[in-house]
């Protein structure tokens, strides 16, 4: 380092001002930039690893080893629990029964012991039955999709209007002090763990709605949907509020100057001007609901049924992963199918986010910069 004596008396010279290589400077910049890449890397890795574990479904040759003793399959949840599920570093391996593992030459088995009947094919994935743990397992994803869509629809029907109206109240009508209470309060709701909301739905809301509507099953799509609305409201509220407050003051002032009242201005000027942002808010709300696991697990009843009745039990995609992954045998078809569901969920939420990000942002920029919208 520079000697302080030296810094005190010298004049400008080529030597003293010569470009210096500073190792700490170089390293810090490289390290910081490198670490920043991590976020991108994680996304790529998630994509890669979640897909990788679902791939065997699609490859005929590398089919997953089928369990020989099919009659014991029903219990293999127990098997996975009681026998410390083995792992020899291979991607796939078989489990023969409750307590014995086949850790022999897996490569050979993969080629020979394949039960075609059990294999999930693209066709069987489109089946209407989700019966992964039975003598003749079926991996139809349709009921799961229907269940997820049903829940999402119910939740968004509750969450979107409430959250958007509340955001409008906060942004356009509430006095400053009230706004300063509402916003943090709703931020706090965002901080409630979903397992707590799930618990509340399971213990309190389920009974309340059952008494109110008098249906049979305590847990159903409606209860789950309303509970998920609680999880989605803070997201939709916050983004909508931001979008509303981002509307340039000149817009609202012009409207007020023309003699419009505050509510007319809010409804006919501010709200339309913020639609791209509100659209983004709803998309992200949908993404949140779509991927919500704990509330679905606890409040929907988890029966994989196809139907339009909102008071029927449903099983969502995310809940299926959550409920079954812990009990599945690493590497078998069921396992792969669960990862496939995960991959689909990921792709779906990723796309929603991408749309919200690019489409909406582009629109907003155009609109507020006065170009053609």
């Amino acid at each position: 380092m520079d000697n302080p004596k030296e810094t005190s008396g010298f004049v400008f010279s080529k030597e003293s001002l010569k470009k210096k290589f500073r190792l700490s400077e170089f390293l810090s910049e490289k390290i910081i930039t490198g670490v920043a890449f991590l976020s991108i890397a994680i996304i790529v890795l998630i994509f890669f690893f979640v897909f990788r574990e679902s791939l065997p479904i699609f490859s005929q040759q590398k089919a997953v080893v089928k369990v020989e003793h099919a009659e014991k399959q029903e219990q293999y949840g127990v098997a996975a629990d009681s026998t410390q599920t083995n792992s020899s570093g291979q991607e796939q391996y078989g489990v023969t029964s409750n307590d014995t593992m086949m850790i022999e030459d897996q490569a050979r088995e993969v080629d020979t012991v394949v039960h075609g009947s059990d294999r999930a094919t693209a066709k069987s994935l489109l089946g209407k039955q989700w019966l992964p743990v039975s003598d003749n397992p079926r991996y139809g994803l349709i009921p799961l999709f229907v269940g997820t869509l049903k829940i999402t629809l119910i939740a968004i029907l509750f969450a979107a209007p409430i959250a958007i109206l509340a955001a409008l109240f906060s942004a356009a009508f509430a006095p400053y002090w009230l706004r300063e209470i509402i916003k943090p309060a709703i931020e706090l709701l965002a901080g409630f763990p979903s397992v707590v909301i799930g618990f509340f739905a399971l213990m309190v809301m389920a009974s309340f709605f059952q008494n109110l509507f008098g249906y049979d099953g305590r847990l159903n799509a409606f209860v789950g949907g309303v509970a998920m609305a609680l999880a989605a409201i803070p997201i939709i509220f916050t983004i909508t509020e931001d979008a509303l407050t981002a509307v340039p003051k000149t817009y609202t002032e012009a409207s007020l100057a023309l003699g419009a009242t505050r509510w007319q201005t809010a409804l006919f000027v501010t709200l339309p001007a913020a639609t791209p942002g509100i659209f983004a808010a709803i998309l992200l709300g949908i993404g949140r609901i779509f991927g919500e696991t704990m509330i679905a697990l606890m409040a929907t009843g988890n029966a994989a049924m196809i139907g339009i009745n909102p008071f029927e039990s449903v099983r969502t995609l995310a809940a299926t992963i959550g409920a079954e992954m812990a009990e599945v045998v690493f590497g078998d078809t069921h396992y792969n199918v669960l990862f496939l569901i995960g991959a689909l969920l990921f792709v779906f939420t990723f796309s929603l986010n991408a749309v919200a990000e690019f489409y909406v942002k582009g629109k907003l920029v155009k609109r507020f910069q006065g170009k053609q919208s």
């Binding site: 380092m1 520079d2 302080p4 810094t7 080529k14 003293s16 001002l17 470009k19 210096k20």
Partner: protein, 252 residues
């Protein structure tokens, strides 16, 4: 005439596509006070910031021409801007103390240079604060936060902080514009003292101030250097009509 400390040659600066400085050439002599005056947006602050390469921090800035300090072109690829700034210090318009103690503020530069000896640091802090005429006011509270000082005190502490690095040139960007008259007078008195040992370049909005403290004055207008000469001459018999109009307050 004293020796030339800073010489610029055809210095032109662009912000993106907009030209902010147009071919400025001037010689700034050693151990004198040179004032830059002109209306807002005339480029005087931008020019000041080219002299210690503070504009490097703005990505859209592009510079052509030369700035020679002691005959060395500071925009040469071989020049280290970090060490340059140790030699060309800067005091800003708004006093900008770090949220640290007064002592740590002044000791910041020496510490950066690797000095950790407590006694030596204390010595540098004391002499710097004395040079900035603020020692008496703060000597009993060196370890209090610098944020607790008044605006004028903060600015003098910032000058002390700059002095602690032992620069040869001090650039001052409207150092008294946010201060009351008493604090301003103290800063001016300080500038008068400092020019014995330092080359000082000061940007100011206040023409009386330029007239009081500077030996030379440069008048900028719309990114051009209109006139540059002895302060007395600029303020009494300027060559250019523009300068006269500005000085007499007809615009700006």
């Amino acid at each position: 005439m004293k020796e030339i400390k800073i010489r610029t040659h055809n210095l032109t600066l662009f912000y993106g596509a907009k030209m902010a400085l147009n071919s400025i050439s001037m010689d700034i002599p050693e151990k004198e006070v040179t004032a830059f005056i002109g209306p807002s947006g005339c480029g005087k602050s931008t020019f000041l910031r080219t002299l210690n390469r503070m504009n490097d921090l703005i990505p859209s800035v592009r510079i052509t021409g030369e700035v020679l300090v002691d005959g060395l072109n500071i925009y040469d690829k071989q020049i280290d801007s970090v060490n340059l700034r140790k030699k060309v210090g800067m005091v800003f318009q708004k006093s900008n103390p770090f949220s640290k103690s007064i002592f740590e503020n002044v000791a910041y530069g020496p510490r950066i240079n690797g000095l950790n000896n407590k006694a030596k640091l204390a010595e540098i802090v004391e002499t710097s604060l004395k040079k900035a005429f603020i020692w008496e006011e703060v000597k009993d509270r060196l370890h209090d936060s610098a944020m607790g000082l008044s605006g004028g005190q903060q600015q003098r502490m910032c000058i002390a902080r700059t002095l602690a690095v032992e620069p040869e040139i001090i650039l001052m960007d409207e150092p008294a514009s946010a201060l009351d008259p008493i604090s301003t007078a103290k800063i001016e008195e300080l500038i008068f003292e400092l020019k014995k040992n330092y080359t000082i370049v000061i940007v100011t909005h206040n023409m009386q101030q330029a007239a009081r403290v500077s030996d030379l004055t440069a008048f900028f207008y719309l990114g051009e250097l209109i006139e540059f000469g002895k302060t007395r001459k600029i303020f009494t018999t300027p060559d250019k009509k523009h300068t006269e109009e500005y000085i007499t307050g007809r615009f700006g």
